[in-house]
């Protein structure tokens, strides 16, 4: 056990945890931020995607000891009112089916648009191929990313 201070969604938190604990479980079990999902635990599904200093990372692979003073943004902190352009586009296209993968999809998509405001289809495929949607909402995800890009 060790104590870590984390900056999550603009707030400072102290957590006591095994240094090897992935941020995914720190968020979910210690900070009660359960929007970030567990899907595989091995960086193969993208459900756990968060932003680390604005870059999309798989939180299941990031030990709490490796965060340092970098800032973490989760789906809960992406916007105050659920009105980030990507969230709005998701609602406009009514993307989700079961919804379980969508926090990860939105975090990957918003990081993509941050670094590449006008992505091509190939750019979208490359950025989103790590996010599985078992329900098969890919066509809507792509359309929503394009809508968000155009806004």
């Amino acid at each position: 056990m060790a104590t870590f201070s984390l900056n999550v969604n603009g707030k400072k938190h102290q957590v006591d945890a095994d240094p090897a604990t992935p941020i995914l479980w720190v968020l979910r079990d210690h900070l009660n931020l359960v929007g970030t999902k567990y899907g595989c635990g091995i960086a193969a599904c993208g459900a756990c995607t968060v932003h680390l200093d604005g870059v999309a990372v798989r939180s299941c692979q990031l030990p709490v000891s490796g965060v340092g003073d970098k800032t973490i943004t989760t789906i809960e902190g992406l916007s105050e009112q659920g009105d980030h352009p990507v969230q709005k586009a998701w609602l406009e296209h009514d993307v989700p089916q079961c919804g379980y993968c969508q926090a990860g999809q939105i975090m990957s998509a918003s990081a993509l648009l941050e670094s590449n405001p006008n992505p091509s289809d190939a750019d979208i495929d490359a950025a989103m191929d790590g996010n599985i949607c078992r329900c098969g909402t890919y066509t809507r995800i792509k359309a929503a990313i394009k809508t968000a890009a155009s806004n």
């Binding site: 056990m1 945890a17 095994d18 090897a20 604990t21 992935p22 479980w25 979910r28 079990d29 009660n32 931020l33 359960v34 929007g35 970030t36 999902k37 567990y38 899907g39 595989c40 635990g41 091995i42 193969a44 599904c45 459900a47 989760t74 789906i75 809960e76 992406l78 916007s79 659920g82 969230q87 998701w90 609602l91 009514d94 989700p96 089916q97 079961c98 919804g99 379980y100 993968c101 969508q102 926090a103 939105i106 289809d121 979208i124 495929d125 490359a126 989103m128 191929d129 790590g130 996010n131 599985i132 949607c133 078992r134 329900c135 098969g136 909402t137 890919y138 066509t139 809507r140 792509k142």
Partner: protein
Amino acid sequence: MTLIKTKQGRRSFIKVSALSGGGLMLGFNWLASCQPSVKPEAGLQLPDEWFDINAYLKIGNNGVVTIFSPNPEFGQNVKTSMPMIVAEELEVDWKNVMVEQALYSPEKFPGAPFGQFSGGSRGIMSKWEPLRVAGASAKQMLKEAAAQTWEVPVEEITTEAGVLHHETSGKSASYGEMAAAAAQIPVPEEVELKEPKDYKIIGHSKKNVDGLDIVTGKPMFGMDNQTEGALVAMAVHPPAFGLTLKAIGNADEIKAMPGIKDVFGIKAYKEGFKRGYFDTNAFPELAVVVGNTTWEVMQARKALVAEWQPIESSDSVIDRFGADINVHTPAGLENTVDHNQQMEALMDKPGKVVRRDGDPESAFKNAAKVIESNYSAPYLAHNCMEPMNFFAHVKGDKAFVSGPLQAPGLIEPTLAHSLGIPEQNIETEMTRMGGGFGRRAYSHYMVEAALISQQVNAPVKLIYTREDDMTNGIYRPTYRARYRAALDENNQLLALHVKAGGVPESPLFANRFPAGSIDNYLAEEFAIDSNITTGAFRAPRSNFMAGAEQSFLDELAEAMGKDPIEFRLELLKRAQENPVGKTNDYDASRYAGVLELVREKSGWGRNDASMHRGVSAYFCHNSYVAHVLDLTMENGKPVVEKVTCAIDCGIVVNPDAATNMAEGGITDGIGNALYGEMTFKDGVPQKNNFHQYRMIRMSEAPKAVDVHFVQNEINPTGLGEPPFPPVFGALANAMHKATGTRYYHQPFLGEGISLG
């Protein structure tokens, strides 16, 4: 207007009312605690007081209506479409509707075990009448209340968008103003239902009621349960099918690990329990680790040492919804290679004849040409994105359970037996499921969670890791089919012969098309017992047979020199005008209807040398679906450019959500056809996570999906499953056009090959 009996007397209403006002037995309801019980949409004010009208709805004194969605939600969007149906008959403005997931209640939602069942594409179909009656009864009670208050005849009262009017007196009142009085009105014995032409909500797309919560990451899944003081549990199951737990070797050592509370074994069923049809469970004995946090429990379970021993073969009697069936479970460690050999051997022996029309044997003897093709498909894992999990709090003789499940009515009797408490002492909350696909109809994990809670005497959240989820599966069975066709010297079809089988069941539907369209027809089947657990997977059996049948018809059309759509339509014409046999279970005209619609919408006749097109049509779950799939080849790799889809599922309640479901089914079908596969070696599942189990991804999804619905006023039928099975054939047929090769064996692409 249609008059319909409500089947709901005053007494049943009182019972329902009392229940809906009744408190929660353990005084805690997780979903209600983490979400406001109503969700104020922009501008919606919460009422000061609610009035229970019936099991499906309550009305606030300010006119806001809460509609309870009875069936669990796993992405099929019933949580939006079911309330839409109630709102339609209630004549309330959708803007004033809030939606809540109902708790499991066989009293409120009769028809157990299927009263609140999500599966078999039967949700909307089975609830079509009860939902409309619930809305119409409430509207009638509001009208009666207004009539009594205003002292005017009830027939003179009209309703519109949540307001009651009496034209001659000029009086009007909102539903909210009349709600208190309406709650005192006896439930009408008979109500009028609207005609489809008058629908204002049904048939008009509404957004997912949980959309905002999903995109903002609100807790709503079983995995998200954050009950104060709850412990985390994980179970260790045998590494191979055919093994069971013998002993836990190092419990004391594990208990000493950080954050670990307890280590023990559980048995899912008590001695002498007669299992139900959905109590499928390969590993009823498990080793369990309970601790404070997920990560700590994960570490501890890795260190746990358990001893396993072979199971003995057994014969058991299972209760299949009131009828006994015998099930043989062999001992041993099974292998996919052996299964394949066994199926091939049985394929060459006579099977059990399940349908024979005319004289197929003579037709084959006299044939100028016989075309034969063999098809196969492997086991599939469901791989719901949210792994299996459940929350349970057992306290004395009471239990509160909460989590993802498709079939509460099927598991609750089992849970009561295993816990040794009465069924009515169990309260079951159904969380939004991160996918189901059939897997969550087998909720043994709920029983496991409750037994663990009982043992540690604390609230517990049981979590399966992805590896647990994939290797403790209730898999889609593995199947084989052989199709043979006899042609005469003019290439006319004389006879068709299908033989199909699998481990542990046959996939055959002997009375489905093309049965009924061919004079000489023979259908045979076989099955092989196994200890690998299998069960429903999106469109059970159809998910294999459709691909085999529709690929074979394509091959046959080619051999006969016919256009594949035209050939199918000819067969369907025969089935329509002069059907062979009396047990055909499809409507040939609706079948032809979707083929004609997809031909028109896809521009089938279009001549485009670079576009390789495959067609397929199938009927299952009472609905008809046809696809045309367009492929191009880029750098030697197939790319799915577009899928055009025509569906006849009767009235479509929520068109955009229905389109989403069809898009998803198509993408899922392409993924499973190309990559889906689970194999076994000495009983051990050979894949345990997504690095090994290939799933379709964004770059491989169709670039466009164009969904069309046949417009009619037939009562709604299934939609979650029907678009899935025909994808396999459409893809195989398009790939044949693109590559010149027929694709008979799933998965069509091995490891390392991908779509472009």
